[in-house]
């Protein structure tokens, strides 16, 4: 039986030092776990943001390609039309001479 400084009986024994160390380590581990969780979530958020930027970039590049191809097709049609007109003009000129 142990008594305190006023002579009252202490029913509970002081926890062993190893238990206190374990409790302290557990607390530290929990803090570390929370820190790692927050860090992981932040990295995930950043990665998702970068991914959405990349998706936007790809879509924008596809639009660029579409615009360029539409432009090239229009030019091709214009050139074909011009060639056709030139050959028709040539035929007409030949016809008028002979």
């Amino acid at each position: 039986m142990e008594l305190d400084y006023e002579g009252k009986i202490i029913s509970m024994k002081t926890p062993p030092e190893s238990y206190l160390i374990f409790k302290e380590e557990l607390k530290k581990a929990e803090i570390e776990k929370e820190r790692l969780k927050a860090e992981y979530e932040e990295k995930l958020r950043e990665m998702n943001m970068e991914l959405s930027f990349l998706k936007e970039q790809i879509s924008s590049q596809q639009d660029m390609m579409k615009t360029t191809l539409t432009y090239a097709s229009r030019l091709e049609n214009e050139i074909n039309g011009l060639h056709k007109q030139i050959s028709e003009d040539k035929k007409q000129r030949k016809g008028s001479f002979h």
Binding site: F53, E56, Q57, S60, D63, M64, T67, T68, Y71
Partner: protein, 149 residues
């Protein structure tokens, strides 16, 4: 003597930083009224793009409105809605604040330059009331060249 001092253009190292972010770096030189915007990313999402230009507007409204140099060399994707907004809305608003000299530096890639040309042609076609004819727009190869011309 006085004239030569006035006509002397600043060096890039004399520019002060307005901000330096994830997508762009903006510097300015108050005595000459020149602003430089250097894009730092292959692509700039529209909300960030607008944010950059709203920040540049602060400088223009403060009277730093002689010349705007837009260095797009880092870009690899041309976002049409962003460029439309820049061309139709921002440039028009800044023109009202006295900014009419625009110098642009494009990426070296000829395909990119062609895309810009096509996109610009489309914007002019879609928005016939733009103030583009009132602006002095030139393409340059380097920032120093853009400062001097």
């Amino acid at each position: 003597m006085k004239e030569s001092t006035l006509s002397q253009q600043p060096n890039v190292s004399q520019f002060e930083s307005h901000f330096d972010g994830r997508f762009a770096k903006v510097t300015y030189h108050e005595p000459s009224g020149i602003i430089i915007c250097e894009l730092k990313s292959e692509y700039v999402p529209i909300e960030h793009f607008k944010d950059i230009f709203y920040k540049i507007s602060e400088l223009v409204k403060r009277g730093i409105s002689q010349k705007f140099i837009f260095d797009k060399r880092a870009l690899r994707a041309f976002h049409q809605p962003s460029m439309e907004w820049y061309f139709v809305v921002w440039k028009k608003e800044m023109y009202q604040h006295g900014l009419s000299l625009h110098r642009k530096i494009l990426p070296d890639e000829p395909w990119f330059q062609k895309s810009v040309e096509i996109a610009k042609e489309q914007i002019v076609k879609n928005y016939p009331d733009t103030i583009v004819d009132k602006l002095d727009i030139r393409y340059c190869d380097s920032i120093q060249e853009a400062i001097e011309n």
